[in-house]
């Protein structure tokens, strides 16, 4: 049995990498192992791209597995013939998408076609023999460039440094960064997930948080970062002063620059940041979520040809704050012929293609209330099935507000030259399809 287990070793490799357009034409193809032929791409085209019934991101045909991710109008595909790590393949495919976006602005058929040489160059660097290598965008940009090649001498001088950095313990940072003004910007961005039942009960409310940092700091700065994390505050015996405002984080995930061992032992976040913008951490919080918007719905179907909506939206955050780009998507039955909507604030419009009333409010002050009343006329149908009433979706962004209550307590920067640095913090809570209310 032992030997049997051994031969089932998880393999880490992609054995081929493809990019297809929507027609199934190969835009990029890279094969890493001899046992895969280029014709394998035809199999993918026939089985996945031309097959509307595909319901899984992994397809195994014979002994070959195709992993695909669809971005805009291209398919990014990893192929393997072994028991590969599925999580790794998808993580890599998404990383490729991120790298592509960072290099070309967006990743679509046009940008792939225009930059195919660069993509081959990148692939050569980030995927060797099917094993993912350095995929740090900052480092890659040091030696894979879109501009014409620098003078030969310069490259030669640089490349030693480049290679050291690409493999080094802080592969994400150059050592010779210099800024006249040392600044660090911290953005706390929270995506609020809400699922509320018809009866107004909160079925699920949690926050996926993201802390983005833009570090413009000279040298090799050693940073310490502190949040109003309940566990940390409790440990320090701060209960008396701040325990009310402390948040409970269910889980955190860090950029690879953060010392995980240190966090595991005393929950302190210390790191040497990459230069420029990066995602320092992600977190998840499920307790005491402040919902920025409350919705009261009253939807009736007085006859078979009419639906009446009354929807109250209340901004439940502080009146000094305001929310931008609030968009409500209110579903209508499939056989709706027209909608008359009246709103106090913003604009409401029926979009027949999506079967929704879209109510857009450019700006709402905290504690403000708005109401929509609408009537949808229905065509008579013989179809008896009841309307399934998909949830109402609210999209928004509220500046200087965190639904979880998270606050940055400090960001300390230590550098051997001892410079002073300026730090800025911004907060944003938003929802993009994740704030759903049933009615």
């Amino acid at each position: 049995m032992d030997q049997c287990m051994d031969c089932e070793l998880t393999d880490l490799t992609h054995q081929a990498f493809f990019i297809f357009n929507q027609k199934g034409e190969v835009l990029i193809s890279r094969l890493f192992r001899a046992d895969l032929k280029r014709s394998i791409s035809d199999v993918f085209r026939i089985q996945v791209i031309s097959n509307p019934d595909v319901r899984s991101p992994i397809i195994t045909l014979g002994s070959t597995s195709f992993f695909h991710v669809r971005v805009n109008n291209v398919y990014i595909v990893g192929v393997t013939k072994c028991n590969a790590s599925a999580a790794l393949v998808f993580e890599f495919l998404y990383r490729f998408v991120t790298i592509g976006r960072s290099y070309f602005g967006k990743l679509d058929e046009e940008s792939v076609k225009n930059n195919f040489v660069l993509i081959y160059e990148l692939l050569d660097e980030i995927l060797d023999f099917g094993y993912p290598q350095n995929s740090e965008i900052d480092t890659l940009k040091m030696y894979i460039t879109t501009e014409s090649i620098k003078s030969e001498m310069a490259v030669r001088e640089d490349s030693s440094k480049i290679t050291i950095q690409a493999t080094g313990a802080t592969s994400w940072r150059r050592s010779d960064v210099k800024y006249r003004k040392n600044e660090a910007f911290v953005d706390v961005i929270e995506t609020v997930n809400l699922l509320m039942s018809k009866e107004g009960a909160v079925l699920r409310a949690d926050v996926d948080g993201q802390i983005l940092m833009r570090a413009y700091l000279s040298g090799t700065p050693e940073c310490k970062f502190g949040l109003n994390d309940k566990l940390v505050l409790a440990k320090r015996g701060d209960q008396t002063s701040k325990s009310d405002s402390a948040v409970e984080l269910d889980d955190c995930q860090f950029h690879q620059c953060v010392r995980l061992g240190k966090f595991d032992s005393d929950r302190s976040i210390s790191f040497i940041p990459p230069d420029g913008e990066f995602e320092l951490m992600r977190y998840r919080s499920t307790s005491n979520i402040n919902l920025p918007f409350r919705l009261q719905t009253h939807v009736t179907e007085p006859s078979r040809s009419r639906v009446e909506y009354t929807i109250h939206l209340r901004a439940s955050f502080d009146s000094k704050l305001s929310a931008n780009n609030v968009v409500l998507r209110i579903p209508t039955p499939l056989n709706t012929t027209g909608v008359q909507a009246k709103v106090g604030v913003g604009k409401a419009k029926y979009v027949p293609g999506e079967n929704v009333i879209i109510w857009k409010i450019p700006k709402i002050q905290g504690a403000q209330e708005c109401t929509l009343t609408a009537e949808a006329d229905l065509a008579s149908t013989t179809h008896r099935q009841a309307w399934s009433r998909p949830p109402i979706q609210v999209d928004f962004s509220v500046v200087m507000f965190t639904a979880s209550g998270l606050l940055v307590r400090f960001l300390k920067v230590f550098e051997k030259s001892g410079y002073q640095s300026v730090k800025w913090v911004r907060y944003l809570s938003k929802a993009n399809g994740s704030y759903q209310i049933r009615f």
Partner: protein, 769 residues
Amino acid sequence: MAMAPPRKGENWELRQQLNSEYRDKRADAIKRVIANHTIGKDCSGLFPDVVKNMQTEDLEQKKLVYLYLMNYAKTQPELVILAVNTFVKDTADPNPLVRALAIRTMSVLRAEKILDYLASPLSKCLKDENPYVRKTAALCVAKVFDLKPELCVEYGFIETLRDLIGDGNPMVVANAVAALADIHEASLNLPPSPPSSPGGSSSPPPSARPSSSLFIIDQPTLTKLLVALNECSEWGRIAILSTLARYKAVDEKESEHICERVVPQFQHVNAAVVLGAVKVIMIHIKNVTREDLLKSLTRKMAPPLVTLISSPPEVQWVALRNINLLLQKRPDILANEMRVFFCKYNDPPYVKVEQLEIMVRLANEKNVDTLLGELKEYASEVDVDFVRKAVRAVGQVAIKIDEAAERCVSVLMDLIETRVSYVVQEAVIVIKDIFRKYPHSYEGIIPALCSNLEELDEPEAKASLIWIIGEYAEKIENADELLGTFLDTFKEESYPVQLQTLTAIVKLFLKKPDESQGIVQKVLQAATKDCDSPDVRDRAYIYWRLLSSDPAAAKSVVLSVRPPISLPQTTVAPAILEELISEVSSLASVYHKPAATFIGKGRLGAEEMHRRTLDAEEDVSREKALQTVVAGNQAENLLDFDADDEPAPTNGGSSSRGLVSDGVISSQAIASVAKSTNPLDELMDLFSTASMTAPSTQPIAPPSISAGVTGLTGSTSAASSDPFASLSGLSSPPTGNGHGIQSPPAYQPQQQQKQTSGGGASDDLLGLF
């Protein structure tokens, strides 16, 4: 070149440009060659012209020429030699990027000739002062091993790789580990010996295999790996974690140490690192006995798993499949987290279906109300497949949690009231299971079910309702009428419906003999005369003979008490589960199937099979495990209620009459069994094979038995007041297959295993989708 190339066309133009005196033009031409290759045009004819451009100071151009070489070297093996000089020169270039590029490219050219020139530059690069070159060279060893394993042995590359595990640079360590693992796996796939002759049909003893000796992870290696784990890039961490998963700890202390060192990786942002860490922990936790550590490990595992649910949908799906697996092993890890698995309206269907399964796994008395509310909500969505699964989940919850059964039934009744055809049908199917689990508890809803009779058009739903009617025939006043409607269309119905109609009417007859003589005769006649399914016919014959010979036996067979059903905790067999858990995040763990079932034709398919036949022991254990999987699948399928209509172990009447014609029937039955999945078919198959294999003994039945049988029939017909008398008065069924009834049903699982063990291994995963 022997043949003069044509003087026009795109390739001719390109050739001109490649030989142009202007650098820009040449660079441009190379790009066009690569573009042509990408869209599938053959550019191998340009080989010498492209290679001329190899010697350049321009790094970008060099990369493109190298890319060309990688693709075409094997088509022009003689010409590759032209490039060797430049390659060897480049591997000594002062620029480390050039050195790495040259060695990286050279080792994938797949040309025998170039390999001989590769050895010495590779040895140099493996010891290069620059870590970037070393980490590139490390992977080159795996590439060379893939092409020519004996070269690696000859030059001691593998020992060098092992030394690199102690390298000061974490990236080099990670790549050395990855390369060794790759080589390790490749060597397992190699034909035993000699390694250079793939496909050799000689069969040396299995011990001659290179086996795992190429990459043994000992304690010093372990220490190095644990140090490198915290320092290297995310991809390197994954390589190291999967190597740690292979390590066999010497004692509990070491297992504890590994777990403690790996736990911090749960906080990594890369899902593959998190799952890799979960895998290592799940493997080494087996040796941990310290209560507090066990607790802290499982407690720390839950949050990162939940966080994976906010990943992009594909990663989320992989995570969900793995969570489903982990919950089968450790049901308690996510006990309080059901809410995060609630489906969002706009989630992709493959994600929603997984979430449903996990929610049912996490259901308990406390959260069942919320869950039922959700499931009811899902049942009103538009995706038919998902809606059906949601309804099915309601039934699973009912069977899982006794206290909630009543609430589940009321949800199902609400759903039936929606009168959406597929919801109603699914609900009926599910209610049938609830009746099985809680007999005589919810009879009150039967009238409501029966009022939907004409709504049903799917065989499974129809069969379910008919089963319910048959089961409660004594309580349903107009059961004969209801069943009669199905009998009227008997010929047009599908076989499962026919089988159920037949059984239900026989049940009705046994319960209310006075009112249903006519209907039972009709159904027996229809089933034996007009039906072209041997299963239906055979079952009808069995019933007929039973009824005419021994009504008491018929009662004990047809109305026997069924074993209770339950919701299985696991969907895979324990041995397989153990194997899958140690492969968390791999394809196997996503499919919930051992890798061998879907990568059977791996890199060296024929050799692999050959090796497997050598390792007979392994095969046996695997085969056993696969059989358990199959058996598990059968057990999981609550809907095969046919299984309990099989005869209970009775000594019902056996008869030797009519056996002459047995041969005909059994061959038909065998033919049908090949296609069918109904457990009863397998039972029938069992009967027929029994009579096939021992035909010589059959015709001469022991006289004592046949005498006993006649006596029995005689006694029943003597009691003329008995309604059965009229039956025995009927002409005997033309053929009989009563012999096998004596076989106890315990045979059945074995039979299933025999049936499926062959097909199980080759089972195609496509079935999943």
